[in-house]
């Protein structure tokens, strides 16, 4: 049993263990459609989990741990190629304008 699987208080049941496994798989390699469906069902069914320190174990917390490591491993990248940057920037401007326009309409 891993450290993540020690909720506080009490032992973990099979469903909670399966949920923890799926959360870790999702954060590191993605899930197949059946696994995704199973994870969503378990999230609805399994009571909130905490680790040994009493912190909640949420999908976001597991994702965040994986993301932090990704950042640490990738911390000195080369800059974007200039031509790609220019095209991405143009696309970004379009997205921001589209989003702002949609938000204005939803307010009206």
């Amino acid at each position: 049993m891993s450290d993540m699987t020690r909720p506080n208080p009490g032992p973990i049941n099979a469903e909670a263990q399966r949920l923890l496994d799926l959360l870790a798989d999702r954060a590191t390699g993605g899930l197949s459609a059946p696994d995704q469906a199973e994870m969503e069902a378990l999230l609805r069914r399994v009571p909130p989990l905490t680790d040994a320190a009493g912190r909640p174990i949420t999908p976001e917390a597991v994702d965040a741990a994986a993301a932090s490591l990704m950042i640490a491993l990738s911390s000195k990248p080369a800059p974007l190629p200039a031509e790609a940057r220019a095209r991405l920037l143009a696309r970004g401007m379009d997205v921001v304008r589209e989003t702002a326009s949609r938000d204005r309409k939803s307010v009206v």
């Binding site: 891993s2 699987t5 390699g29 932090s68 990738s74 000195k76 974007l80």
Partner: protein, 186 residues
């Protein structure tokens, strides 16, 4: 506390798009290079796919709950993994497993790297070798669990167990600052 790039983008500040690209574009590009090597995918298209989701999700980012870098890395990882899967579904991809993990992987958290990366690098270094190995393949190289099993010649179940154990340990070592709740994940 100053406004983040994503908060500025969420309220329609177009100048923040360039700043966001300059801050995080290289990271996402290098991630795409590693994750999609051998898959025959268009890198720029993949990076654009990531950033379009980042910009459209900017309104959901909450800086009190996690960093912009983690928010963007989570989107990038998920999008690039999805792209790998689609590429493999479309055609049989022959991948070379020539990227060999070493005891000192490419953790580059030097003096110029922000605290989050430094803490994650330190936590990573404290993991067992077999946990570091599988997490490096999964999160640095973007290998699927099946591909990791083949690369290091162990059963798939062993890879999953090591990843789950290592990630749990990592999360505990990183502590409350990387317990961002609903803010960090898109």
């Amino acid at each position: 506390m100053s406004e983040t790039y994503l908060q500025r983008i969420a309220r329609g500040d177009e100048s923040a798009v360039a700043a966001c690209l300059d801050e995080f574009g290289g990271t996402v590009w290098s991630l795409a290079e590693r994750y999609l090597r051998g898959f025959g995918e268009d890198l720029e298209d993949a990076v654009q796919d990531v950033f379009v989701e980042v910009w459209r999700s900017a309104g959901r980012f909450d800086p009190s709950l996690g960093s912009e870098a983690a928010f963007i890395a989570t989107i990038a990882h998920r999008r690039l993994i999805d792209r790998q899967r689609r590429a493999q579904t479309r055609r049989a991809v022959q991948l070379e497993d020539d990227r060999v993990f070493e005891a000192k992987p490419l953790v580059t958290a030097g003096a110029d790297v922000h605290d989050e990366a430094k803490r994650a690098a330190a936590a990573f270094e404290s993991l067992a070798h077999d946990e570091k190995q599988v997490l490096w393949y999964a999160l640095y190289q973007g290998f699927s669990h099946e591909r990791i099993a083949k690369a290091i010649d162990v059963p798939l179940g062993t890879v999953k167990t090591r990843i789950r154990r290592g990630l749990a340990r990592l999360r505990e070592l990183l502590g409350p600052q990387t317990m961002p709740g609903k803010g960090v994940s898109p």
